[in-house]
Symmetry: C2
Subunit: 376 residues, 2 copies
């Protein structure tokens, strides 16, 4: 960090590469636009920090009106709790003894901390530990929208809810249903049909909860890809979108309500800068961003600057990438810097210690990716 602070005030084009830069104007607009969108439908926003892994961006989301922040892992929650943020939701089950102790440490600092559960034995263990520490843990029943990853089947949701409600160390707050496998369906209409199908089943569980007199003031779910869609579910209380802050090639290439082949509601605030290190070929140059700088997953990264439809990024091993073009059509010099939209923002941000924050291409600040590496 100390070495990086010298970059403040510099043009982003002078930064040591590869590095991640964030256009603050775009970031602020993305945060504001999503908040305005969900508020317009009478919903709340509970943005997912697994995308940006940066507590300062989480703070911006809270300041913009978010009801709380989601994280995937206890180690991420620990960072947010220590930074003073309240009401964090951990969206994956917390099952091991070690993690349950850490979870309770966090809960003792933030009584509004919330987790999900999809297993009765686990719920009982959480209850025992909360009681032992004189605490009460907020819990959502995690519903599985046919992914088979985490969650319980819809039919088992109400009985698990009933059991959790009977445990005095736990406070049942409602349900979560996150259809991760739906978010990137390219065709908007198909995504709409699929998402509404799953979310309506989850909404029926909410109605079951109410019929049984179980607390259910929260029904949280959805993501960036279905944020235009799931607002149509009356029972849904809040949306867990994350990628809308940063955006990436994977999300930008899916259809949206206004454009069948492009998701245009949010701008790519996050980009990667990479330098040309080899110019010995007529049809390509080699750049300094490979697998370790640009996570090989999701969409194909694309060149934002210099703007040209002819430039194509390809991974060339751990340390390098290749920018291809029709032979002789472009001329790059050693050290020339290119700006790319990354393939998949979440795991790419997780490769870097800092985000260079910029306005009009000038570095305004350096923000630590303080949840980087927190996969525990």
């Amino acid at each position: 960090m100390v070495e990086q602070m010298g970059w403040k005030g510099a043009s982003k084009w002078k930064l040591d590469t590869p590095c991640l830069v964030v256009d603050q104007d775009k970031l602020e607009r993305n945060i504001r636009d999503m908040q305005t969108h969900v508020t317009g439908f009478g919903k709340k926003l509970r943005p997912h920090a697994k995308t940006h892994k940066c507590s300062r961006i989480a703070g911006m989301q809270m300041d913009a009106g978010a009801v709380g922040i989601c994280v995937a892992k206890v180690s991420e929650a620990q960072v947010l709790v220590r930074s003073g943020l309240k009401g964090t939701l951990i969206t994956s089950p917390v099952v091991t003894d070690y993690k349950i102790v850490t979870l309770m440490d966090c809960l003792s600092l933030d009584p509004e901390l919330m987790i999900v559960a999809d297993n009765l034995a686990n719920a009982k263990k959480l209850n025992d530990e909360a009681k032992r520490r004189g605490l009460r843990l907020n819990v959502l029943v995690d519903l599985d929208p046919g992914m088979g990853r985490t969650g319980v089947a819809f039919k088992d949701g109400p009985s698990l809810g009933q059991s959790i409600h009977s445990l005095p160390g736990l406070r049942l707050r409602g349900v979560q249903c996150y259809a991760g496998h739906v978010q990137h369906i390219a065709c908007f209409d198909e995504r709409l049909r699929t998402s509404l199908g799953w979310m309506e089943e989850a909404a029926n569980v909410v109605l079951e909860f109410r019929k049984k007199g179980l607390p259910c003031e929260i029904f949280t779910g959805s993501g960036t890809g279905t944020s235009e869609i799931d607002t149509g579910i009356p029972e849904l209380t809040d949306l867990q979108a994350g990628s809308y802050t940063m955006m990436d090639a994977e999300y930008l290439s899916i259809g949206s309500s206004g454009n069948p082949s492009r998701f245009e509601k949010f701008a790519p605030a996050l980009t990667l800068l990479t330098s040309v290190v080899n110019t010995n070929h007529a049809d390509h140059v080699t750049v300094d961003a490979g697998l370790k700088a640009l996570y090989h997953d999701g969409g194909t990264p694309y060149v934002l600057n210099p703007p040209s439809p002819d430039l194509e990024y390809k991974w060339r091993g751990d340390e390098h990438g290749q920018i291809s073009f029709p032979a002789g059509s472009v001329r790059f010099e050693l050290g020339d810097v290119l700006e790319l939209v990354v393939s998949h923002c979440d795991p790419t941000v997780n490769l870097f210690d800092v985000l260079y924050m910029t306005r009009n291409d000038v570095v305004t600040d350096i923000w630590p990716v303080d949840m980087r590496g927190k996969c525990m």
Copy 2:
């Protein structure tokens, strides 16, 4: 780090997951076996640290007889130079102004530091900066074995060598030729033919250097996958193998001289521990290691413990994995820990801050991955 030190003396099966563990006995044997192998052929070992990104392991390799350590990037070299290691070779071109300044800072601390060059303008820039600082930089001509990534064509090697030799701020030491695209060819005989083909062409450049009276005491190249092969090239002076320290599913699945379908000379010293977090299905469980803990590249990770040919790992998004098995054949409990051989060791190590060092499954020490994130 402070929080992690409490794990010393604990069973590795109690560690917070996902995490990387290194079996020190296997690591030591791998390091010794490769050193013995190359020494037996009258060669030197110049191991590549881009695999383990850990200066303590680099130190072990030097203690075992390595002639120097390779790194891919200047930021990695900076870590090694600061740790006191001498004679580091940076195996990719260093071209930007910022990096050249950092390079010269490193050179002023270690006069034996060495880099590669594949471009005359770049060599002149390095020469100017070295002269300005009153330094002399060791340089190898980087030869391209048909990859089109970095390096110059074989035919252009001698003239670039001649030019570098004429620059007073540079000290020509020889050539590098690394055939990265050959290392993982599954069929051993095909790998042998392909590697010898490229390395013999590089050896001809060495002979050209000698004919022209150019210094060429170093011809460095090769990797773990061709370490059994390239020792047959008389002109080759040292081997740049890296993955042999850790090993991974990608390397273990290629053929070797003794076995057409398995590379058995080195043991998987590196493994990943992951915990079961969902048991709601008869044919699979969900574990806590996904894309962010187990880099999605290379071979298919496989389950080492519990040992069973029926268990299969699949990535299930950023945060989770799935262990599949025939329905009802295995019973896992929440919190059960599995041990996996990782897909591709280099980018996976780069996802973690520490390596838990173990002997007989007990944590002996925690070593920082101090070159993690150093992709600059």
